[in-house]
Point group: C2
Chain length 458, copies 2
């Protein structure tokens, strides 16, 4: 039989033990902080009904949903729809009822609506699960990737924003990544739109302003004209484009501009309250107001935030915001939600680039017992059991192979300690303990091994 070529679907990944241990270091850190801040875990199914998912991510998002073929004779329902047989768009709903989740926010909203009578509000949940998107795969973009979300629903308090920023700060402090949290508010963007009378161009405007540092004021204004803004409107935008100074100073300038925009004023007040509350916490990250921040503009209604790593050039590693009517789409109105989402893959890349993964994510086994054959194995097995009883991860090489092969196994798996027991050791009722890092070895008693020798990592 010819050996079949094996592969995995494009845009998906296998994770080897080294990668898994590093990923778990990230996931465990995020999870521990979510819990420290009083967030509770939930999980939702990988599959949702397409009726739950469709129309929630825009037309482009609908295309990127992975759809699951109905089980059994899926063509049964198609027979009466001959036109569908040559039109895949008409055919899709006839042969597919379920799709893989695209993010964790829509399933969370669906969860809250379905379980509303079991939940106590405000409900603070975290959720760390994979999501799937049929995106064109490219560097750093995958078709299956994990999201790590924390959201609180059923509370309008801006303390929630501060708490989420506290989570962000602590996670990246623990991961040893210096960050800047960029903060904006949908109401401030609305204020700008109201001020210049161009509500539908707000994304184009923020994108253009964002380039000020790179391309200069003239080019920014050219781009605004190219996007269809009048000379007059561009002139009106100048004080906003030229907004400078620190966050407080920027807010003061905007406050004067927004004299006639109530929403804009509200946005400024919200941002000031968040910054005020932050002063009562011990946040280490730099927090700065960024008027060009407009992510997820289509559904955020209040705060918008995004986190950048200070030491590497990389997209945002965390983002979030407030959406006033999260569960409205599923028939439960007036539930304000605010949340954040950590991008585990990018955080992985940042830690990799900065070489900041701690060494002890490398291995789990601390001690390997060399196997010289049945007699030696039986001499060692009770010892192995004793180490494990003490919580020390240990194993015995299963086959009596050449010692060189067994040592290579220890090295390849980064096992710091190796126990060698041969004829001599058995006669002396001892064992030889070898340190694989330093290469040193010593003969010790069985008691000594289980006492303290191998407790320290490396």
């Amino acid at each position: 039989m010819a050996s079949p070529k094996v592969s995995i679907p494009k845009g998906t990944r296998d994770f080897t033990p080294v990668e898994m241990n590093r990923r778990n270091y990230i996931f465990d850190t995020i999870k521990s902080v979510f819990q420290l801040y009083g967030y509770s875990p939930i999980e939702t199914p990988s599959m949702e009904n397409l009726s739950t998912l469709m129309g929630k991510y825009g037309e482009e998002g609908d295309k990127l949903l992975f759809k699951i073929l109905n089980s059994g004779n899926f063509l049964e329902g198609v027979d009466n729809h001959t036109e569908a047989k040559s039109d895949y768009k008409k055919m899709t709903p006839l042969i597919s009822e379920k799709g893989l989740r695209y993010d964790l926010t829509v399933p969370f909203a669906r969860f809250v609506v379905m379980h509303q009578n079991e939940l106590t509000f405000p409900f603070k949940r975290y959720q760390m699960q994979p999501v799937w998107r049929a995106d064109r795969p490219q560097k750093g973009r995958y078709r299956e990737f994990y999201q790590c979300d924390a959201d609180v629903i059923g509370s309008n308090s801006l303390l929630n924003e501060t708490e989420l920023m506290g989570i962000i700060d602590r996670v990246f402090d623990m991961l040893n990544i210096k960050t800047t949290i960029k903060l904006n508010n949908r109401k401030i963007l609305t204020g700008i739109a109201e001020y210049i009378g161009e509500a539908d161009k707000i994304v184009d405007i923020t994108v253009a302003i964002d380039k000020l540092d790179k391309i200069g004021l003239d080019k920014v204004n050219e781009e605004l004209i190219a996007k269809g803004l009048s000379q007059e409107t561009v002139a009106k935008l100048q004080p906003i484009i030229n907004l400078s100074g620190d966050t407080q100073s920027k807010l003061c300038q905007l406050e004067k501009i927004f004299t006639s925009s109530e929403t804009g004023q509200k946005g400024i007040a919200e941002m000031r309250e968040i910054l005020d509350l932050l002063g009562y916490t011990e946040i280490k990250a730099v927090v700065e107001f960024d008027i060009t921040l407009a992510r997820g503009l289509n559904y955020y209604t209040g705060s918008i935030l995004e986190v950048k790593a200070d030491e590497v050039a990389m997209g945002s590693i965390c983002g979030g915001g407030r959406y006033d009517n999260l569960t409205g789409i599923f028939g439960l109105p007036d539930m304000s939600g605010v949340g954040i989402s950590f991008g585990a893959d990018r955080i992985y890349d940042v830690l990799q680039e900065l070489n900041r993964f701690p060494e002890n994510t490398q291995t789990s086994t601390q001690v390997l017992f060399v196997n010289f054959g049945e007699k030696e194995m039986k001499y060692c097995l009770p010892l192995l059991a004793k180490l494990r009883k003490k919580g020390i991860s240990a194993e015995m090489y299963p086959d009596p192979e050449k010692i060189k092969k067994q040592m290579s196994y220890a090295n390849a798996n980064n096992i710091p300690w190796v126990v060698v027991v041969g004829e001599t050791e058995m006669l002396e009722n001892k064992l030889t303990l070898k340190n694989m890092q330093g290469g040193t070895q010593e003969k010790i008693s069985l008691q000594e091994l289980t006492k303290s020798k191998v407790k320290t990592k490396k």
Copy 2:
């Protein structure tokens, strides 16, 4: 807008925080033992190419695979196959290239073949991920469920079997579930088949023998006749059906019967070696030879094992075995694998039925700060930060709601301690600490809170 009816696909589940904490207790226990025994984590994609999955689980298994509709115009390739348009079996491969994984074993075999040059053998891996099967949902059977697998590949040593039984024993000891490990060997079943000359009826035979206790010898023999065995063959089977006594005695009886079956003798020798090695460990579970155990007969080639909870009537909660040629299907021959799989859902049900979930799986938050308004909140925020710095999970109620509502929140979330700070406390530079279990409360200094008061759980 009418409120849309929300639901999730049948056979799938949401997990609430209480369920999640209990599930994580199970998963974390299993994971810690896998690591203690030197197994390393891997993960594989949820989707595999259908060419990887099809034909690996029998015809029935192929039907139960969830298949993913190709993205974009999936009908493009169908136009030249008009006959496929009314035959879903012909259509399926034209419109679907990927499927959701059905178990963790086939993806593991595929992983080993793809990564063979990066891995050091023997390779001991664990994997805890969901799998999907389009089974008819019923009590205890879901379309999405987790498997927790540990396998070692590239070693023929029976020490691996012993180690896996050690893992099983320790996991259930930690979970406080008394278990019996049932052990059989494919080679013993082959020995029986060879002895009576009915190789293809071995499953029918083991199923019938299994009923001996319930229906008695006459009925068992009747069933064997009904399954097509001759009177002569049934007569020949009598010493096997009547096999009794303890494990060692059963093995002795079989040894005499298998005089002419080399494979049967080998099976007995393997089982004896495993039992001998087990004597050098500190296994607590009862281990017994069960000749009726035939699970996964189609691919196991050596040891077969299954675990039952002693105190509840429930199917097996863990199972496994050895398959001599695990990666052969993907072109890498001569790789023997042996592994086990924990059934997390059934373990959950056992713990639930026996009421053995530890109390501290119930909550993560230890302290809730009541919110009386801005001034009080700002007084408490630095305290909240201090508790968290000490690793104590704490939160502040985000809105200044009525105290009754805030207390209900603490109760609903099983939060054991509540800190109340009002006018009086602020004047005295103190706080009131309320124990929600006992209902007691005392006024203490800020220092006292962060020192020791709330460290103990409940």
